[in-house]
Symmetry: C2
Subunit: 167 residues, 2 copies
């Protein structure tokens, strides 16, 4: 079992690092995919190595997709390859966990219509516009989809990720 | 069961936040103690609320003590109250988990003589000088004592913390 994180420069550091380290604690290898090779830098200055570009991702290789927030999703959501990866996870009903601005990519992929979900408060309007059933909760689980709002929701977010992977 | 984190301004953000959120994921309340009321700010700018001052800590209330790294331990290790708290955990053989510069406080408390431990590389000399059996490993567990070196050791660090609390 392997995990995939898709992000870019400007990610909310804790929203990437906490799930990243949590999955590694569990012995699950994690690959970070981004627009370019090299490293990505978070809002708070943490650098994370990029393991592969979006074009190199084979969604079948991964059991779960994690989409951290910050400013990264604004760059990710315009990449058609990123949207195709998200659709592949949904098509196979595999867990997708998005926090804060992370769900923006799922909005752009057209995957949230009729789905219960949450996000950062400034993202709520577009989430509702796309037909999602928005809830203001620390974590919302709807089938394969796990969403949270802010860094302080991370304990609930990682708890539901682990339940999904172990269940 | 409750957990105690002792830190101060200049903490290594991920070394505080990752164990903090991990313990909360497990449903374990976490209190952060520091020199003063208010909040402490990490090297990368994350702010964490202070729940109580060092003088207010009753070690009997907690099942585990976590000592993150960064520049915080330099300020913590000169506080006699902090050293007394560390000694109380050791006296009752309760888990103490220190990472990076965190073990400096245990050096000042005189608790590492003859104990297997690790730390950030620049701390290794004083750790050896105090009589500890230094190892360059991602995590070293010796009885109640859990130590690690750097942020990328966090998965091993939290894994051993959880083993200790569940075992």
């Amino acid at each position: 079992m392997k995990a995939l994180i898709i992000s870019a420069d400007g990610f909310e550091d804790s929203e990437l690092l906490v799930p990243y380290y949590r999955l590694l604690e569990e012995g699950i290898p994690v690959h970070v995919a981004s627009l370019n090779w090299g490293a990505i830098t978070g809002k708070h200055g943490y650098q994370v190595k990029v393991d592969l570009t979006l074009g190199e991702v084979r969604p079948d290789d991964y059991a779960i997709l994690v989409l951290p927030g910050g400013k990264a999703p604004a760059a990710i959501r315009t990449e058609l390859t990123a949207l195709e990866i998200c659709r592949a996870f949904f098509a196979h009903n595999k867990p997708v966990a998005a926090i804060c601005h992370g769900p923006q990519t799922l909005v752009s992929a057209g995957l949230l219509k009729g789905r219960r979900a949450t996000c950062y408060q400034s993202v709520a309007a577009e989430m509702k516009d796309t037909g999602a059933l928005y809830e203001d909760s620390e974590v919302v689980v709807d089938g394969n989809l796990i969403t949270s709002r802010i860094p302080s929701d991370l304990p609930a977010f990682t708890r539901e990720i682990m339940k999904k992977l172990k269940g």
